[in-house]
């Protein structure tokens, strides 16, 4: 399974279930923008490691919206405390999807510690999130992710992928435009 396959499943389910996505910077955001730009995608351009934190703040603030954080193994390893916070605050509308290719793919595939002995699902469980699972193929991903987005519990899905990247263009949106259209989409989703 490639990262772009994970993103296609994510986008398909997010559109169907009216979920909003907070996307980690670099190639994950670029690929997501490439396959299906929409106002409900918030593309991070900096602040690596904070996708789950932004998603948590949003999920707590708009309980009527399903919120999905799109993380990588490198980014979640920068902010493992966010899993403890997510476990304890436990917004029922929060799903954390971690694309784990065991490398920093946006900077040349330098290995992360998930290539070694580190297990992100076990870390999530240890942080206090029992709804944590690792998936290895698209079919399992689709079924688990759909359940996670629907469920009334905070969930973590670790999707193991190949070391792949698409030749996706740089996001040519102004940061303030990304924010404004996202906020408007969040608001209109609540009214609708």
């Amino acid at each position: 399974m490639k990262r772009i396959d994970v993103l296609r499943v994510l986008l398909d389910l997010a559109v169907k279930m009216e979920g909003v996505i907070i996307s980690n910077l670099g190639f994950p955001s670029r690929e997501l923008y490439h396959i299906g730009d929409r106002a409900e995608n918030f593309y991070m351009l900096g602040s690596m490691g904070l996708a789950s934190s932004i998603a948590l703040g949003l999920a707590v603030s708009v309980p009527g919206r399903r919120v999905i954080a799109l993380e990588g193994d490198g980014s979640i390893l920068m902010n493992l405390g966010s899993l403890a916070t997510a476990a304890n605050i436990a917004p029922p509308n929060l799903t954390i999807l971690i694309v784990d290719n065991e490398a920093h793919s946006s900077t040349g595939f330098q290995p992360t510690f998930t290539a070694g002995v580190t297990d992100l699902e076990a870390i999530a469980r240890g942080a206090g999130i029992p709804d944590a699972v690792t998936v290895f193929d698209e079919k399992e991903l689709r079924s688990r992710l759909e359940d996670a987005i629907k469920s009334e519990r905070v969930s973590v899905i670790v999707a193991k992928t190949e070391k792949s990247w698409e030749n996706a263009p740089v996001i040519d949106l102004d940061p303030v435009t990304i924010k404004n259209r996202f906020m408007q989409a969040v608001r209109s989703g609540l009214e609708g």
């Binding site: 900096g46 602040s47 949003l58 924010k179």
Partner: protein, 173 residues
């Protein structure tokens, strides 16, 4: 029963936050902030999220803003250093509002912890280098500035910092 002076100060700081529109707070503790954080925890008008690290609080506050909240971060000045990249590449880049209320540790205020002193020396030059507008509160009469800083941060979509000086709690009646 007469309220303790410290409690009155903590309450008026929280009231100033609320009057400034703040309805969402991420916090990390400090001795100086203990009463403020306890007051916020009991305050129904504010959603309070204790966080594991200051940078995480910047991210959560950004998410709260995306959801229409008016966020503040309550931290020690020592922890400000943990949040700088996120303040610039998230909060400022996307023009998001954030009020940062910091206890100002170190200096000559009978600081018991030597590790607080280097950041005490650096905090004002750091804020200036980052072009974050700030004010220092050392007297009760100045607590109203917290409301103004909050209003400015929220209406201008900027980061504003407020440093709470130790003298604030030492001031004689």
């Amino acid at each position: 029963m007469l309220e303790k002076r410290e409690d009155v100060i903590d309450r008026s700081i929280v009231d100033a936050l609320i009057e400034g529109g703040i309805d969402f707070v991420c916090s990390l503790p400090c001795n100086m902030l203990a009463g403020i954080i306890e007051t916020i925890e009991q305050e129904r008008r504010i959603t309070h999220i204790p966080v594991t690290r200051e940078e995480e609080g910047v991210g959560i506050a950004a998410g709260a803003h995306l959801g229409g909240k008016k966020p503040a971060l309550i931290i020690q000045n020592s922890g400000f250093g943990n949040s700088i990249n996120a303040l610039l590449s998230l909060t400022r880049l996307y023009r998001m509002p954030l009020l940062i209320l910091m206890s100002h540790r170190g200096g000559d205020r009978n600081e018991q912890i030597a590790a607080q002193n280097p950041m005490d020396e650096a905090i004002i030059p750091l804020l200036e280098a980052l072009k974050i507008r700030y004010c220092c509160i050392s007297r009760r009469a100045e607590i109203g500035s917290i409301r103004e800083a909050a209003v400015d941060a929220m209406t201008q979509s900027e980061i504003r910092a407020v440093l709470l000086e130790g003298e604030l709690w030492d001031e004689e009646d």
